[in-house]
Amino acid sequence: MVKVLIPSGALGLGYDRAALARGIAQNPDIIAIDGGSTDSGPHYLGTGTSKYARGSTKAEWRELMEARAEAGVPLIIGTAGTCGADSAVDWLVDITREIAAEAGMKVKLAVLKSGQRPDALSDALGQGKITPLNPAPEISDDVLSSCSNIVALAGAEQIQAALDTGADIVIAGRTTDTAIISALPLAKGCHAGGAWHGAKIGECGALATTAPNSGTILIEFDAEGFTITPMGAEARATPHTVSAHMLYENSNPDVLYEPGGHLDVSRSHYTALDDRTVRVTGSEWIVSDRYTVKLEGARLAGFQTVSLVTVRDPRYVENIRAWCDDIVTKATAKAEARVGDGFEIELRLIGLDATLGGLDTAAKAGTEVGVLGMVTAPTEALSREVAKVLNPYLLHHPLTEEEEMPTFAFPFSPPEVSRGAVYEFCLNHVLELDDPMDAFALRVEELGA
């Protein structure tokens, strides 16, 4: 039997300290926590940075390092620094060194990196080893070399290699959310379907229970399946909360693709052992013919400057679309005459259909509308320049030529804010590997030695 303690769905989200302490008292074999996901958008992979602040991350990570030392078991984090790029891994390694030095901890640290070199991927593309998933953007050598970061999602094999070093702490770059949980149970011979299924149920911490904010859960893996026990005092796992979690952020509720195979839960059995503990058996792991890892890449998509104006005059609110269309036409023409083309001006109508755009079937304006101006251009200077051309229109543009010049409400001075570089995801592909470690780099360092 292997017990995996999961403090929360992600480092930086916080967790219930009492629940974590109860988990440590259960003598887990490993503590596993996720460090990120793509869900916050392409900025983090594009820049190779973390979503969470350094101070908060350090405070939470220090508590987990202390919990690990107390339990005397390995601590592993996957997708370090939100995106799992090499620079984000370095960021967390740096924080870890700092904590170890401050606390006088002696730690053996394994660092697994997932960053990919564009030239190596170009070779793989030429050899037919990169396959598109559905839907996939077109890729080429140019697309690969335009990415500021490309990562491959490590699976259980790479995590096992890191654990095999005897490390106290493993900091991994991009991994699948599940691999950091399934790796040890799989290495110890637990049921493969149960290992991956339990990992999927556990990857969001207590989200698969009745008290999602309680964070900490314990999953026990064995030869037939797994058992989930929430550590929060009020949290309960029920067959419904556990089986329903397969729906969460998963396009197919029965199947989960991982490096080396896929999980099928269509024949899983969910049994309540008591009113808060659920046992799951019957999950299946199907080994694939090829060993593939998923790729994620982000590249620069331009520079953006945004402006915000609010419109309260009832006649303008009533005619807001015509007003905005006229502004886009006139500001675009003026900016093109002054600085040339290559930029784009978009106005989104907050209070009307900013969220759903053309898909909205119920859009109707209230007493006011916020107009969000977005200028995207190939350089930061051009995006600022065009936003400044747009500015007087947002402030003063009249609906008709005959009326006195109106003035609208800018909440800020200056009204335009540069968002800097903006990024886009540009890979939805898998990379075939002869050996699981081929695309990954593992090293060990001793802290406080």
């Binding site: 996939a136 729906l247 396009s251 953006q304 969220t355 759903l356 119920a362 886009e424």
Partner: protein, 99 residues
């Protein structure tokens, strides 16, 4: 005529990675589930998203009284055209379907 959001316990939409959107309709009871499965056709959902019905994956999960529909995101997450980074607001569009 009721709206789907009035008869279902919850309609949820989320990203399933940067390229996919998944919509979970929690019906609560087998009766509502049967009504929802009949009324919420993949064609109607595709029309809401101006998508081809062929790209909508449909999962009828009677044991949970959940109808799940997954489709490629209207625009890839975080691109300039994207309006909702986490994809959760698309649920409102589905919840407003007449059933």
């Amino acid at each position: 005529m009721s709206k789907l959001g009035d008869i279902a316990v919850k309609v949820r939409s989320k990203n399933a990675g940067p390229f996919w959107l998944t919509v979970d309709i929690f019906c609560g009871t087998p009766e509502v589930y049967a009504q929802v499965c009949a009324a919420v056709t993949s064609t109607r959902v595709a029309a809401l998203f101006k998508a081809d019905p062929a790209v909508v994956d449909r999962y009828e999960m009677a044991s949970l009284s959940v109808l799940k529909l997954s489709l490629p995101r209207p625009s890839i997450q975080g691109t300039r055209q994207d309006r909702d980074m986490h994809g959760a607001s698309f649920a409102a569009l589905v919840a407003e379907l007449d059933v």
